[in-house]
Symmetry: C2
Subunit: 190 residues, 2 copies
């Protein structure tokens, strides 16, 4: 009913009917139009964890191929990911998180923190630390010791006590080792 004031910020991709929240004049609704579809936030999560290749997303998420292709395209058009040919192996593509995608980290972190202390019991699956000081991040992705939001690239991810130590897919296995966020994931050396 209100005037929608659509996409002022560079993303004007026509959303398929029924996916937008036309009457909602609200930046949460704007965000959800891009990132609120099924699987989308998990794709972004994986991208922040360092996953870059189509097939890695595929096996790690267990998502239908068509849906993955659609989500990668939406995210690329929205400027959250950038698609580019892989430097060393020209037949491969990479989907790399942009600054815009990195800016989603606090939201993902907050959602994860909520999921953990709401449904997760006591054992976290992954721990996140500020590399500079080793302190574990707070629920908003901030460092309680340094007192500010930690840039994504300065976050170290470690396996928590609740994580399956022997996952079946190679991507999960690669994600068992402590690693920085955004650091490209390699599954090749099996």
């Amino acid at each position: 009913m209100n005037e929608p004031a659509l996409g002022k910020g560079g993303y004007s991709g026509a959303m398929a009917l029924g996916k937008d929240y036309a009457t909602q004049e609200c930046s949460i609704a704007r965000a959800l139009e891009v990132v609120g579809e099924r699987w989308t936030l998990l794709v972004v999560r994986d991208a922040l964890y360092g996953v870059r290749r189509y097939n890695d997303f595929l096996v790690h998420l267990g998502i239908p191929r068509a849906v993955l292709a659609a989500r990668l395209q939406t995210l690329t058009e929205a400027g959250v990911l950038e698609k580019r040919p892989c430097a060393d192996a020209p037949r491969r593509h990479e989907y790399v998180v942009t600054e815009r995608g990195r800016a989603l980290w606090p939201a993902l972190r907050a959602l994860g923190a909520w999921g953990l202390d709401t449904f997760g019991g006591t054992a976290p699956l992954r721990l996140f630390r500020h590399v500079a000081c080793g302190t574990e991040l707070g629920a908003a992705g901030e460092c309680p010791a340094c007192g500010g939001l930690v840039p994504v690239e300065d976050v170290e991810m470690l396996p928590g006590p609740g994580l399956d130590p022997e996952p079946s897919d190679p991507v999960s296995r690669a994600l068992l080792a402590p690693r920085r966020l955004l650091q490209p994931l390699t599954t090749d050396p099996v």
Copy 2:
């Protein structure tokens, strides 16, 4: 493929097939199973804004009645909302945010902040302030002056420069006035 380790935290409602992320061993995925469906986060947002009644959600969201009923039920079963008869008018119900629902505020705030500076242009639609000191909240819902997460009930919401000053539905009109979050919304005195 991994063992799912489902719902340890008091919510064991059977999710309809195809809504869960069965292979995802991750608290973000757990959160999204509850809160990741279409409309759900906007319902929670409205609940935090003070909306409590079925018909108010309905007119404000422009959501199909069946979907609203389903979302309210899911959220109630998940312990995010609590359904109870209205004290003064026994035929009415109220859906009130629980502590668990209030804990979603940082995530919603982070999503909204992302939506604003990604797609919103320059004019925010709503401003959020720490009541105690009047400072505008940071992107994670923290108070930059006091330096901590502001409890939801201490957040004041004000109309921003981008907000339509004459919305057509009574709920949007009631939300024009500065108000604290969680404060019950009244649309009766028209």
